[in-house]
């Protein structure tokens, strides 16, 4: 089941499948540790369509919905063996 990160509800977790688009945004996400296989958790959303607070690798990140829409996630953790710790 493929969804974008922006479609997750607070408290939901999912694994990164791929990142759409390229350029600076993609590089930035890479630097922050958003690479395929990593588990993300949406902690909370700012009201009125504001940014999302996301937890990954034990730290917190704020991202706008527009940027979250570019991250395709899947519910199942099919890469779980390889990435157990990366997706802490």
């Amino acid at each position: 089941m493929e969804r974008s990160l922006g479609e997750l509800k607070p408290g939901e977790r999912a694994c990164v499948e791929r990142i759409n688009g390229g350029g600076a945004l993609r590089r930035r996400m890479m630097d922050m540790g958003i690479v395929p296989g990593v588990e993300l958790e949406v902690v909370r959303c700012a009201p009125m369509g504001g940014p999302l607070q996301i937890r990954l690798k034990g730290y917190y990140l704020a991202m706008r919905r527009g940027e979250c829409a570019k991250i395709v996630v899947s519910g199942e953790q099919h890469k779980a063996i390889e990435h157990t710790l990366a997706s802490r």
């Binding site: 390229g22 922050m32 540790g33 700012a46 504001g50 940014p51 730290y59 990140l61 704020a62 802490r88």
Partner: protein
Amino acid sequence: MKIALVGNPNVGKSTVFNALTGSNQQVGNWAGKTVERKAGTIHRDNLEIELVDLPGTYSLTAYTQEEIVTRQYILREKPDVVMAMVDASNIERNLYLVLQILELAPRVVIGLNMMDLAKSSGISLNAAELTKALNVSVVEIVAAKGVGIDKFLAEAVRVGLLKKDPLVRQVPYPSELEEKIQAMENLLKDISWASQYPLRWLALKRLERDPEIGQEWQSVSAPESSKDKKRETCCDSGDALNYKLKNIIELPGNDLLQSYEEEGWTKDHFEMAFADAKYNYISQILPRFLIQEDLRKPSLTDSLDRWILSPIWGYPVMILVLALVFWASFIASAPLGEAVSQGMAWAADFLVSLLQWIQAPAFLTSLVRDGIFAGVGAVLAFVPQIAIFFAFFSFLQDSGYLARAAFLGDRLMQLMGLHGKSFFSLVSSFGCNVPGIMATRTLEDPKDRLITMLLNPLIPCVPRLGVMSAVVAAFFPGTRGAMIMLSLLLISMLLVMISALFMRKVVDQKERSAFVMELPLYHLPTLRNVLWPTWHKTYTFLKRAWTFILAASIVVWLLSSFPQGVPMNSTWAGKMGEWLEFIGKPLGFDWKIMVAIIFGFTAKETTLSTLGILYGVAADASQSIAQAMTGAMSPLRAYTFLVVYMLYIPCLASVVTTYKESGSLRWTAFGIAYNLILSFIIGWIIFHGGQAMGFQ
């Protein structure tokens, strides 16, 4: 020996740097960048060590200014050792940067900081195992308490003195990728230019089509001369290490890159694959040194964020925090400001009596008292406010709250096409535009910074609001006054929004910056980390502004007191006001208002006293000045004056700050012109619109 301090933002780098260098540091900017550059000299075991604190960065690509500065320093200055600070509570992402550094510079020492924070979130790390896993020295430190910092430096010196580069474990790339890297390495290994960099790093960057690979740079200015005693030991504007492109070498491998691209291995694909391999490697070695305890208890950050970032409580909490900052910086600091004015007045009196004693000519005493001391004093009276504000700013930034404010304010900023981090800068401007403009430094993208900087002057600061409320109270008594004040603030906000969208069009931005921002764990900043930047920022502001303020004070004094002994409307300034009346006429302004507007440029709070003199009110009380104005102006004219007053160039200090922070005369001039034209247009619309609707 040259040592560079590198790490992610918020890892405690500046704490370590301050502890090691003490007051023996120079703070300035990197050449052509608005990124702070800090360097210091340390003497240890007969060695002179030059320690450079590189800006906090997440990676060594060339995307943000911080990354460019960090990478260029390591590439071009070739430090002997890199001290890499690592946040133990966020080890995976921090190690990603370390792996990139290791590919570029093999002499690295890791400083493992924030072990206590890691512990509280249920992570325990084994430094010895980390050393084994990466084959890099690791020193545990508690930067905030000063523990382990000396050992960290000693270890760096030891690694720096090694005869041979230590052998670092290489990141294992998947075989498909490894083949391509080796093919590129084979092509590059015989090129003489390539011998100055690690071959593997060069091959990786070549595959990523990094534009800087193959370029040869030469430093233009003399290298950092911190030994030069003529320079100030502290807060020097920093050395402008500048480079010029000397040569571009045609590197082999274009055919290879071409064929890879045909197979689908584009530049982006390579970048992603390399990043992926690094993160994979980190998660592979992680179990060797990290033990994750199953902590059911939420961490301090979790519990605080439940309130601070709550969709319901977050905003009241933010308003409370901002109210506290504003109250402390701009209201509670009033006695300090008064003390400064008082001190300036005493100094002026003393000098004047001294001048009278030596029978100096009257114009000289007038210059000292009414020109220099009155003008400079008016600006100096704001220094306590600015200093207290900077202290709060540093505290909020260090503690992690500023990022939360950006998170909460982002929705509003998004409407204007701005970054969440612009929010705090714009809010600060209600206090004073100068710190507001300086607060744009937290924005990474230079274009976002510029736009935010240009918007700041449209926000009325405390002194402007003071003058405005005095005028409003005189013209619009009772509850009507509150409505008028509110309407003025609404006009200002509306114009900020419209201007933001307009600036987006004017400022050419190739790629919109992404709002991907770390929300650091909360922690209590050390006193030193709050006070040192406060002192430095205040000092920088004074150093930048004092010459301009002094010159402007003298010019204003000259204009307003010559020819001597004539009424104000016959002085040069008065003539200027009359001459400029043609501009004011469409807005219904007489020459007096024009003079007040011109004089308001040095510092806007002087407008009332100028008007007082012009309207012949002797008393210095703002109420009586405003009362005198009611006889001379209709409410509609007064309202137009208020709008124009609120919007035109904020003050000299803010113009100087804009110039220094943007580094561009062109954009500063654009900002001034924009403010002037905008205030004129809006004033015209209000005056004529009001007349058409039958207001008086």
